[in-house]
């Protein structure tokens, strides 16, 4: 059975490519049982959003002419 370390590998991978059915199932199964990994999964997703936030901050006009 997959442990937390392996689960974080899949959480990271899913930010970069789509997981296979097998990968998706073992991750889902692990996340159902493991609260720390659920938090980690949310945090990886948040890190994935950081770039968009920075870009929005730069490109949103805060000074009108």
């Amino acid at each position: 059975m997959m442990m937390c370390k392996g689960a974080t590998r899949l959480m990271s991978l899913k930010q970069d490519r789509s997981l296979s059915l097998q990968e998706r199932m073992s991750l889902t199964f692990h996340l159902m049982m493991c609260d720390p990994c659920r938090q980690c999964d949310r945090q990886f997703t948040l890190l994935h959003e950081v770039g968009k936030r920075l870009e929005a901050d730069i490109t949103s006009r805060q000074h009108d002419d």
């Binding site: 370390k5 974080t8 002419d65």
Partner: protein, 200 residues
């Protein structure tokens, strides 16, 4: 693009003001990638010069700042390529263990008690927190150069892992290994530097 524009080569005063306004945020962004203040300043300077020179070619389809940001991203990639060509990159240790990551987990693969991720709350609240961004900057600096480079290309520049492999000259598999480490290190650094400080 090439035609008319009587004032070609001259950005209007209002655009100059907008460049001045956005400049500090561009420098912060460039610094995350180049990890060197002087090089970040240079890249932004070049991007701003290019924006002023090519003012007439701004088509207005996207926002002005979005257009300038696009130029900067191109300049950053350009600088990274130069760094690589000049041999300024340390070789990636793709296959070695990462002791920082190893310290997070027990031998059986479960989280160590001290390393177990805690809740950060709602993403919107996190992103609105000034302190989060300060700690994020510090945690990026704390990453090894080559790990940070892959992470910022992927998550801040939005390149695909295939594109990154091409830029850096590594296999996609190694790219995924490096990103996994980068994310684990960053989340751990963020949590200890920011969350634990927030709750006294």
């Amino acid at each position: 693009m090439t035609d008319v524009a009587a004032d070609e080569g001259e950005a209007s005063p209002s655009r100059m003001e907008r460049l001045t306004a956005v400049r500090p945020r561009l420098v912060s962004f460039a610094r995350l990638h180049l990890r060197d203040s002087a090089q970040a300043e240079d890249a932004v300077q070049e991007a701003l010069m290019a924006a002023i020179e090519k003012d007439a070619s701004f088509a207005g389809r996207s926002g002005y700042e979005t257009w300038v940001f696009g130029i900067l991203k191109y300049k950053i990639l350009d600088t990274l390529r130069t760094q690589k060509r000049q041999g300024k990159w340390q070789p990636l240790e793709e296959d070695g263990d990462d002791e920082v990551v190893d310290r997070l987990f027990q031998h059986n693969g479960r989280w160590h008690q001290h390393a177990r991720p805690a809740s950060w709350g709602e993403p919107d609240t996190v992103f609105e927190n000034e302190r989060f961004w300060q700690v994020f900057d510090a945690c990026m600096i704390a990453l090894p150069d080559n790990v940070a480079r892959v992470f910022s290309m992927r998550e801040l520049m939005g390149l695909s892992t295939a594109e990154i492999c091409q830029e850096i000259g590594i296999k996609e598999n190694n790219c995924w290994v490096i990103l996994h480490r980068a994310r684990l290190r960053l989340r751990s650094c963020l949590e200890s530097g920011w969350l634990k400080e927030e709750s006294p």
